[in-house]
């Protein structure tokens, strides 16, 4: 008989429940790691140094949250966080396509980050009261940083949306491009029902409605419009990604893979 990987919290979970929890944690972690890496691609290149530092700092936040989610996975018997981040191939990642898309211009990165942070805020609000205590505690712990991220996004989106003709048109183009992928953050999975029944979080499409309630007033205030009737881009939660994810992972994992046993 195999010993339980850690003493308690998951001991009472069925195999189906355990698989659902693990899947949810991988989605949370991989979204954070990949979008954090994309945000970090602005380090040294931001439009002004103040904006550069703020986004770079947010990138560190996201990567830190990813590490914390990977630790929860490690506590459930998965490999350590570095192995999960640096030694998995793209098909093993569960991030949504929104996180993986290339950096684009500042308008796109800001819009992507805002749509993502709005999604994260509704998800974390639900998870803060979830039945798996380590996850509930983590959701509460990162809430402050995420609150700032949303404030940062809302400020930029409204300023640029109401700025010049050029900033407005770039922002609308960014919203049009990012929106179908943002809807894909709420790709339903086969675990949705189990996750809801376990008291972890509501089904994805219910969270999407809450997300729309956060996003739409901000876009309206910015004078921007969400494209109507677009098809969500799905696939990320099942391991099917745009080719840019493989490119991102190759860059991010390259040094670690030279010598995975090296001590950092």
């Amino acid at each position: 008989m195999n010993p339980a990987p850690t003493a308690s919290p998951n001991a009472a979970l069925s195999a189906e429940q355990s698989a659902a929890l693990v899947d949810l944690l991988f989605r949370l972690a991989d979204d954070e790691l990949v979008i954090g890496h994309r945000a970090s691609e602005w380090t040294g290149l931001g439009p002004i140094i103040e904006a550069d530092i703020a986004l770079s700092s947010m990138a560190q936040d996201e990567i830190g949250h990813a590490q914390a989610y990977y630790r929860l996975l490690h506590d459930l018997g998965r490999p350590d966080p570095d192995t999960l981040a640096f030694l998995r191939g793209p098909e093993e990642f569960r991030c949504a396509s929104l996180a993986a898309l290339p950096r684009g211009d500042w308008a796109f990165s800001i819009t992507r980050q805002f749509l993502y942070d709005a999604a994260e805020s509704v998800r974390l609000e639900a998870l803060a009261d979830c039945s798996y205590r380590p996850l509930a505690e983590l959701a509460r712990k990162v809430a402050g940083e995420e609150k700032y991220h949303l404030l940062h996004g809302r400020t930029w989106v409204t300023k640029l949306g109401r700025g010049t003709d050029e900033s407005r048109s770039r922002m609308q183009a960014a919203v049009d491009a990012a929106f179908p992928h943002a809807l894909g953050l709420f790709e339903p999975t086969k675990h949705d029902r189990t996750i809801a029944a376990m008291g972890l979080q509501p089904p994805e499409l219910a969270l999407r409605d809450r997300w729309a309630d956060v996003v739409e007033p901000v876009l309206a205030e910015a004078g921007l419009s969400a494209p109507a009737g677009v098809e969500p881009v799905y696939g990320g939660r099942a391991g099917r990604h745009p080719p840019e994810l493989a490119e991102l992972l190759e860059a991010m994992q390259k040094v670690y893979r030279i010598d995975p046993a090296a001590k950092w």
Binding site: I48, E50, I53, T155, W156, K159
Partner: protein
């Protein structure tokens, strides 16, 4: 040289409620709202912080360094320093940071 960047805001940082806001530096931002958002990462990320102020630099009136002599005393005014008080002595011996 002309500064072609955004306006400058001076940033004041408060470590705990009731403590004074202390000037920590300045940042460029298009307006006060954005200045607060950007100042949070510039100045709030390395030390404890509960509150930030940003003030447009143009709102600050200052004395001139050429007039720094107005602060010099023409005669001994050490009586103004109030070190004769018991509380002041105790405060100095404990250090400024600790509450008495």
């Amino acid at each position: 040289m002309t500064d072609t960047q955004w306006p400058v805001f001076e940033v004041f940082h408060q470590q705990a409620r009731g403590e004074p806001h202390v000037h920590v530096g300045s940042i460029h931002a298009p307006d006060a709202e954005t200045a607060l958002v950007l100042a949070k990462e510039q100045f709030g990320r390395r030390q404890a912080c509960v509150n930030l102020w940003v003030v447009p630099i143009g709102a600050i009136s200052a004395t001139s360094y050429e007039d720094a002599d107005i602060f010099q005393h023409g005669s001994d005014k050490s009586y103004r320093e109030a070190y004769g008080y018991e509380t002041t002595k105790r405060a100095r011996s404990i250090g400024d940071t600790q509450e008495i």
